[in-house]
């Protein structure tokens, strides 16, 4: 009975993820043959007919670079070519999410969401996307942010304490310990608005934002499924459509006329963007984020300054300064290099259709209600001993991380 519940829940999650397969297979195609696809199109001018720098087209990061530098590569900003080739070889041999564990266990069923769903691209030139601080790591958290993060972590671990995940000392339980007694905190509100997976499905708000088709917006670094952005310009105006996650696309219309930001009481998932040109660089100031967003612990006080510069016919540099004095002790800077993609090969990127195919979120709730009923009727284990959301194998292997 137990296995039937978790099995059916995971099946619906897979159905919901189908759109990701399409975008990822396209990612891999274009990553393999960038020269062929860009060579077919005429070389684009770097200025628009009205004289502004031309950032237009579909852009993506064709390589994998971890946000933070692994301690293994400390003091090394760039990989040597031989190192990249070696890492590519090593990484392409990894089973990742295709790794199987003991058959019939929940952990193995979770592997149905296999490696096919995750983009793996060629190793990038940099050892980290973070270029400042120079060590390639996020700056230390403020004491206040550390406290918030610890409280959040403690709550999540409490929901896991009676499960196999902790009993087996899985990655998802790191920092916690096994205790067969269900935690009294299972009915508590999380310490703050939940944005991440937790081992509880009392209502939709217990789902992670991506599970709710509410993937966070900015800054957008591609994550496990890669991301694309289409830029279209008009005199004095810029529109950017992002294709991210599994059909969780969204758009920005950059206000370019120098007016101030939105009033402080208007908070948005993707913030409020105000742009201007500095020579050939589009500079965008982003504020007014919603407290429901979360980027590495930063919420409504997140402030971004993005710098978009066309560096060549098929290349675009993206540099973003990330600042939140309530979370980090200093601002930090991330740099990405985007490559222009073929229009013809990227024709499905305007449909943020996650919601219509999201059988996963109601499936998790329905499964939890069924487990509760089974337990109440003496047919199943205590629901607190089950973990059907947080434990996976194969995500910890990447030598880049």
């Amino acid at each position: 009975m137990r296995d039937r519940f978790s099995g059916s829940m995971l099946t619906v999650t897979i159905v919901a993820a189908v759109s990701a397969v399409i975008s990822m297979s396209i990612t891999q195609t274009s990553a393999q043959a960038p020269a062929a696809s860009s060579g077919a199109a005429p070389a684009p001018a770097l200025k628009t007919p009205w004289g502004e720098p031309d950032l237009q087209g579909i852009w993506t990061d064709e390589t994998d670079t971890p946000l933070q530098r692994s301690p293994k590569f400390a003091n090394q900003e760039f990989f040597a070519e031989a190192q990249r080739a070696e890492l590519d070889k090593e990484r392409s041999a990894l089973l990742r999410r295709d790794r199987r564990v003991e058959r019939g266990t929940e952990l193995d069923v979770a592997g149905a969401y296999n490696a096919l769903f995750m983009t793996q691209k060629r190793t990038g030139a940099r050892t980290s996307m973070i270029v400042d601080p120079p060590n390639g790591r996020m700056p230390p958290l403020t004491p206040q942010a550390q406290k918030l993060a610890a409280a959040d972590r403690e709550f999540r671990l409490a929901l896991l304490q009676a499960t196999e995940t902790c009993k087996n000392k899985s990655v998802a339980c790191s920092g916690g310990k096994y205790d067969p007694t269900p935690s009294p905190r299972r009915a508590d509100l999380p310490p703050r608005y939940n944005t991440a997976r937790m081992n509880r499905h009392d209502g939709p708000e217990d789902g992670s934002l991506p599970d709710r088709c509410l993937t966070m917006g900015l800054p957008e670094f591609g994550a496990a499924t890669g991301s694309f952005r289409r830029i279209v310009q008009t005199p004095g105006g810029i529109s950017i459509f992002y294709d991210v996650g599994q059909g969780q696309g969204w758009q920005r219309n950059i206000v370019m006329d120098g007016r101030p930001h939105l009033p402080a009481n208007i908070r948005q998932w993707y913030g409020d963007s105000r742009g201007h040109w500095e020579d050939n660089t589009l500079v965008i100031d982003v504020t007014n984020f919603s407290p429901k967003t979360d980027f590495q612990g930063s919420r409504e006080n997140l402030h971004l300054v993005e710098r978009w510069t066309r560096t060549g016919p098929t290349s675009l540099e993206y540099v973003v300064t990330i600042e939140d004095p309530t979370v980090w002790t200093q601002p930090w800077i991330v740099k990405q290099e985007f490559t222009r993609q073929s229009d013809q090969e990227n024709r499905l990127y305007y449909e943020p259709r996650c919601l219509e195919g999201n059988y996963g979120l109601p499936g998790l709730m329905r499964g939890a209600r069924a487990e509760e009923l089974a337990f109440a009727e003496g047919r199943g284990p205590h629901p607190a001993t089950k973990d059907n959301a947080t434990d996976f194998v194969g995500v910890e292997d990447d030598p880049l991380q």
Binding site: T234, S239, Q344
Partner: protein, 322 residues
């Protein structure tokens, strides 16, 4: 009998039904100033860039209709269609839940030429509006509906692409002036290929799925839908928008709709977010909560008890005394 008015076994959608009212109120605050930096023409063609919005009742019903008490009604004390009363899901909204009348946007005789079987489906759609209209679930609106939803949209016109970003549901479409082939699968928003006919932008839209509706009245189409849109600037702040609608699986002949789209000329106008999938969560998943917020779920059925507590002093006959 009284219980029948107050209790209904239809799922609720108060927020969605109220949207039209909210938007038309904000429309009255327009200041009349136009943006000055926008050139009238780009590469010799009229520049449609800017933020636009329909200001009509087409999203309620493309066809001419008299005002009615609510989007969801039920029989009142009389058995006549003209004497129906609001049903429970929208009852508490009072007159704000009513449907405004309209002379319609369907051209010619005002009729939508359904095939007989399709007309039956349209009528059933209307009866099951709350459960069937994709707008209530925040699914993508499709074209042409996205053009006259009561939400603004922004046109960014370049030389080979014209991008339209819609406030509703984060959706968008790109009009390709450079003849990109259609996508390998069908879509809600279609595949748009544009060309210029003098100063009119003509857009051919294909590759649709059969999911989107034309309005809240249940007007629908199949995956054979083919649109030809015509955008013509009638003045700097008005686009005349015409669409020819062809779908041989559903209609006996092509038909068309037409309406003005107005520029949102407020100097501080910008698109805000309307990320409605969050707003539809309770509607779609509320019955799966451990502790339901709506107390009368029976399986998938939401049974609505309308309990409206009027604070002391706010009864309607006390209002003038305040």
């Amino acid at each position: 009998m009284r219980g029948r008015f107050l209790r209904s076994t239809i799922m609720v959608a108060i927020a969605a039904a109220a949207v039209g009212a909210v938007i038309s109120m904000s429309m009255t605050q327009t200041s009349g100033q136009a943006q000055s930096t926008r050139p009238a023409r780009i590469e010799g063609k009229p520049n449609f860039s800017g933020i636009w919005q329909a200001n009509n009742e087409a999203n309620w019903d493309l066809q001419a209709h008299a005002a009615r008490p609510a989007a969801v009604t039920q029989q009142g004390v009389y058995p006549y269609d003209y004497a129906r009363v609001p049903a429970a899901p929208v009852l508490a909204l009072g007159a704000a839940g009513a449907v405004p009348g309209s002379l319609g946007v369907v051209q010619g005789d005002g009729q939508i030429p359904y095939k007989p079987d399709a007309l039956l489906i349209k009528q059933q759609n209307a009866e099951h509006w709350i459960d069937r209209d994709p707008e209530l679930k925040c699914y993508l609106p499709g074209i042409p509906r996205a053009m006259y939803l009561p939400y603004p949209f922004q046109i960014t016109q370049s030389t080979n692409k014209i991008h339209i970003a819609y406030e509703f549901s984060n959706t968008a479409r790109t009009i390709h002036l450079d003849k990109v082939a259609g996508p390998p699968d069908d879509t809600w928003m279609g595949h748009s290929v544009g060309r210029w006919d003098g100063d009119t932008l003509v857009v051919d839209v294909t590759n649709f799925n059969d999911r989107s509706w034309f309005d809240r009245a249940g007007n629908f189409h199949s995956d054979a839908l083919h649109l030809v849109e015509r955008f013509t600037l009638r003045s700097p702040d008005i686009i005349w928008y015409e669409v020819t609608i062809e779908d041989p699986k559903v209609f006996t002949r092509p038909w068309s709709i037409a309406m003005p789209l107005y520029r949102r000329v407020e100097p501080n106008m910008q698109l805000l977010e309307f990320r409605c999938n969050e707003f539809a969560e309770e509607f779609m998943y509320g019955h799966l909560r451990k502790q339901p917020l709506v107390k009368h779920w029976e399986g998938d059925t939401m049974t609505i008890d309308v309990t409206r507590k009027v604070p002391p002093g706010d009864l309607f006959y006390q209002w003038y005394g305040k």
